[in-house]
């Protein structure tokens, strides 16, 4: 039999065939279909226009209004109402609002809605995050979501896989975010176009689940269809207490075919910053001299998890944010919010002068809760620094990990965590 990658195996299993080859067009069963307050209204419109009256499975269609919530204005309130009414009408199990809602890609793994071996589609490009659990997960548009809401299936082109092999030991302050930024800096924003990125190697095997999610989250920023990490002990520990359905671990066959195999030595990877206006404009933090900033955002589906808040708290402990810098901390889910509070991080953040936001996408996409004026500059733990992404077209976003973001808030300019934390 053909030797297959983990991605090919999951796709074959969901298409009900023994094997698939990159380039094959398959019709596959979808385990979870996700929409949010931006994309679901169009999908719901298409669903109704097609004359559909039932979703394929009320436990598998997931709606998360997280982008403009708590509702930013009347228009967004109307969008969210469409989701709510649909969720009530179709008795959807997984619909979240108010104090239950969080950023979708942090919420779904945490709630055990997505699991290893799943095929997940989401009308949101960062759906690729769930590859961290060993699932095949990819972003699609609203019409694709509507099609799945009706049929439970969707067509896919089997992607080629690219393998990224990490070696060596992670340096201090380096997290999954830096590894993925390093890759994007190396291969570019279309370096993995249409492909599946597979992350392997010793350092990945010991990487925390939160860091793995940050890595897979940004596969789309290299143009990829998906990112994936083979499930292991760390995955098992994470999903065992969460998964609401039986799950399956897949792994790549030795000698499976890859379009590219790229190796990186972690001992050479420093904390990174993606400079405006593309995630591929990568520099080492230490190379960046004296770039003053106006705002720091710590949050999002990339780095709004507990590990991220923990490292931010470590940097900010006993420090204060520089004068005229706004630090906004956004725990990604209510559970993370509660954990951060119990662990005492909120005290540290508040003392430092931070604003703590309710879980929301908020400023990540320039929605609300921290928009930049013309000429303002932010360091953000988010995933995109496109022109105008966080506000005015003349504003700038630098992407970094939470330690760098926190250190920059203290210094009032882009800073290395070592400048703030003496050890």
């Amino acid at each position: 039999m053909r030797r297959m990658t983990i991605t090919e195996k999951i796709l074959a299993a969901h298409a009900g065939v023994k094997e698939v080859v990159p380039g094959d067009l398959i019709n596959a069963r979808v385990d979870i279909a996700l929409g949010n307050d931006i994309t679901a209204p169009i999908a719901i419109h298409e669903f109704k226009k097609a004359g559909a009256t039932r979703v394929y499975n009320r436990n598998r269609v997931v709606l998360v209004p997280d982008h403009f919530t708590p509702n930013k204005d009347i228009k967004s309130a109307n969008q969210c109402k469409i989701l709510k009414e649909f969720a009530i009408e179709h008795k959807l199990t997984h619909y979240y609002e108010g104090g239950e809602v969080g950023v979708e890609h942090a919420l779904l793994p945490e709630k055990g809605v997505v699991a290893p071996g799943d095929l997940v589609i989401g009308a949101d490009s960062h759906t690729c995050t769930y590859g961290a659990l060993g699932a095949f997960a990819t972003g699609v548009g609203s019409t694709d979501l509507a099609a799945v809401m009706i049929t439970g299936e969707l067509w896919f082109k089997v992607p080629e896989s690219m393998k990224f092999v990490f070696k060596g030991k992670l340096r201090k302050w380096v997290s999954g975010k830096d590894l993925i930024l390093h890759i994007i800096g190396d291969i570019g924003v279309d370096g993995a176009l249409y492909k599946a990125m597979e992350f392997t190697g010793k350092p990945i095997e010991s990487l925390s689940m939160d860091s793995r999610m940050a890595m897979c989250n940004m596969a789309i920023e290299a143009g990829a269809k998906s990112g994936i990490i083979a499930p292991d002990k760390i995955t098992k520990a994470y999903v065992d207490k969460r998964a609401e359905r039986p799950y399956k671990f897949y792994s790549s066959d030795p000698n499976a075919a890859y379009s590219d195999v790229i190796e990186y030595d972690c001992s050479k990877i420093e904390p990174k910053v993606a400079c405006p206006h593309l995630p591929e404009n990568i520099k080492n933090v230490s190379e960046i001299k004296n770039i003053p900033i106006d705002q720091v955002v710590i949050g999002s589906c990339t780095n709004g998890r507990i590990e991220d808040l923990a490292v931010a708290a470590r940097v900010l402990k006993g420090k204060t944010v520089a004068k005229h810098v706004r630090l906004i901390v956004i725990p990604a889910t209510p559970h993370i919010y509660n954990e951060a509070m119990k662990k005492g991080y909120f005290g540290i953040f508040l003392k430092a002068g931070a604003v703590i936001s309710p879980p929301t996408c908020g400023p990540c996409l320039g929605g609300h809760m921290g928009i930049l004026a013309a000429g303002e500059r932010a360091v953000a733990t988010t995933n995109r620094n496109f022109i105008g992404r966080m506000g005015d077209v003349k504003s700038e976003v630098y992407l970094a990990n939470p330690a760098v973001a926190a250190a920059s808030a203290v210094k009032g300019r882009i800073a290395h965590p070592d400048e703030v934390v003496r050890s």
């Binding site: 067009l25 931006i38 994309t39 209204p41 169009i42 419109h45 298409e46 226009k49 097609a50 004359g51 559909a52 009256t53 039932r54 982008h67 403009f68 930013k72 204005d73 228009k75 967004s76 969008q79 989401g122 009308a123 949101d124 490009s125 759906t127 972003g139 699609v140 548009g141 609203s142 019409t143 694709d144 509507a146 099609a147 009706i150 049929t151 067509w155 924003v189 279309d190 176009l193 249409y194 789309i220 143009g223 269809k225 593309l278 996409l365 320039g366 929605g367 995109r384 496109f386 022109i387 105008g388 992404r389 077209v393």
Partner: protein
């Protein structure tokens, strides 16, 4: 399907935030979205573009978010088709699903200048640069995608399959 229109030329890696900024995503009304199409790249675009015009762009057009609002905004402001060196994956898929014609051709992108008049035949992939008197061929659209277009898009093909309940 045949189009004839004036070229609006854009660079590489035009992301969906530039096609339609997120600050306008609190609605999905095509007419409303069309008003802001390409706003952060060229604030005058939406008011100057004419029905039937053609967007020509470098590589990786439509990268970034999955928002279908991007092809919707382009279509709603009257653009007949987009020609690029390559498209980001989700944008490519969305365009087919909602019926925005798109073609990939390096030669056509190399040759086309702002304001050139192009004639495009979607069925054959022939691109004729009338201004410069040049003829190009776009990369063929996979047969599966052609069928999807013939069926009238993804939702129509599902309706025809009798799976709507």
């Amino acid at each position: 399907m045949k189009f004839k229109g004036k070229v609006w030329k854009f660079g590489a890696d035009i992301d969906t935030d530039r096609i339609i900024p997120a600050r306008y995503l609190n609605t999905s009304d095509p007419a409303e979205l069309a008003k802001h199409c390409m706003e952060d790249e060229d604030p005058a675009f939406a008011s100057k573009v004419r029905a039937g015009d053609i967007i020509v762009a470098e590589k990786n057009f439509g990268c970034g978010s999955s928002r279908e609002h991007a092809p919707i905004a382009i279509k709603a402001c009257g653009v007949a088709c987009v020609i690029a060196r390559s498209f980001a994956r989700i944008f490519y898929r969305n365009s087919f699903n909602m019926g925005l014609p798109i073609l990939e051709s390096d030669e056509a992108v190399d040759a086309a200048g702002n304001g050139d008049v192009l004639e495009v035949d979607m069925d054959t992939g022939d691109i004729h640069n009338v201004t410069k008197g040049l003829k190009h061929k776009a990369r063929p659209v996979p047969p599966f995608m052609q069928e999807l277009i013939r069926a009238g898009g993804l939702m129509e093909s599902i309706k025809k399959s009798g799976r709507v309940r």
